[in-house]
Assembly symmetry: C2
Homo-oligomer: 206 residues x 2
DNA sequence: CGAAAAAGTCAACATGCGTTGACATCCTGA
DNA sequence: TCAGGATGTCAACGCATGTTGACTTTTTCG
């Protein structure tokens, strides 16, 4: 009985933690520290390569705390990786240079300050973790596809969105994960100039 | 002394195995069985996800045999994953449809019978295994880059090759690893029609 | 202050991993 | 036939993993 109540209480505590508070009890501090360390580890090593124990050692904190705060490694991953592509309103994008605008947007997103919590984590993790694959699919359906549909009036907008995504993921894969020399060394402007027309073509060719 | 000799002998045996023989002693049979099982496991789970023990169980054979035949898990991986893109001679490719020809070639390669020993294995493994990343770079430098250079006379052929690779890897990633619905469900012809012009553009635009 | 709750520590569990060396069996060739 | 090498089995090693429950310390608040 008491055990059951304690577990319920603990679970409530975990849930309530997900909202930020004004007075931020001590726990919120370590919670954020855990998330930051987890993001870094997941980014560098993927889901399988990152271990709860090493994340805990980096905080530093006892591994048991991670289980208390996030329930499981999967829970930690879900909490650490939240993707918001911040795609602009399709209406605000000039039609004639939408391709370059999109490529520039993603490069900023991937190489900005908070890049570690972005799609590259998912790329590294998706090969071995079903959750990561699912998240990628969700991002595609809820963020990329609608934006592309808003840009092209075409009825095969989903296919066009998928082709754009395949080019952008290929870019991210070669540049951040494989670090294939020519791709990794190009400047942002070079990439925009080369890939932009491709995206533009996927949007409006045919 | 005797130990040392035995080890040398064993190493010689391992090396000599890498050549195929006409009389194929019993060992060659199991060696091939191990390789086949390893290719399947590496393909489905990547380098880290595949375990020596599970590969052995699939043969079936004792895990110790794998160590005897290939020395280590890394050795098994190197032996199991040999990439030959079988790229045609650049001179034999019609200039005006080189893009579609290349895309069709890769689709055949990836979706043919022996697809499991191909690049998708490396994609799944490269996120966690340095050897896999190195192999991808080697394939790029020795097979893709020269072919592209032979097609375009351009002096930035390396960059063009890298852009083509980023598009093709993105395609493979979305279709075989992430199984992103629109990409995974397109027919080969649709993909050729859509991606072919992109590759063509990377070859000759500007 | 002092009790209750929250935060954090510690040791242990079961499991799977790559790898090793000693041992048993099979097959070949002199 | 039978010795010796090739082939295969077995048990164990040291290690790292995710997770758990009992425990101690710190913080909060009536």
């Amino acid at each position: 009985m008491t055990e059951s109540l304690a577990k319920v209480n603990r679970r409530w505590q975990i849930l309530s933690m997900s909202r930020t508070r004004t007075k931020t009890p001590k726990s919120e501090t370590t919670r954020q520290a855990i998330l930051a360390a987890a993001q870094r580890q997941f980014y560098e090593n993927g889901y399988d390569g990152a271990s709860v124990r090493r994340i805990a050692r980096a905080v530093p904190i006892d591994p048991a705390m991670i289980m208390r705060y996030f329930g499981s490694k999967e829970g930690l991953f879900s909490a650490a990786v939240v993707i918001d592509l911040k795609l602009p309103d399709p209406g605000a994008i000039p039609r004639d240079r939408a391709g370059t605008a999109l490529v520039a947007h993603f490069l900023n997103l991937w190489e900005g300050e908070r890049s570690a919590i972005g799609l590259p984590i998912l790329l590294r993790s998706a090969v071995s973790n079903q959750d990561a694959s699912d998240k990628i699919r969700a991002v595609f359906e809820k963020q990329v596809a609608p934006t592309v549909a808003g840009l092209t009036g075409a009825d095969d907008a989903d296919t066009r969105a998928a082709l754009i995504v395949s080019q952008l993921f290929g870019l991210a894969l070669c540049r951040y994960v494989l670090k294939l020399p020519p791709v990794a060394e190009m400047t942002q402007d070079e990439i925009i100039a080369r890939i932009g027309p491709v995206v533009q073509g996927h949007l409006w060719r045919d």
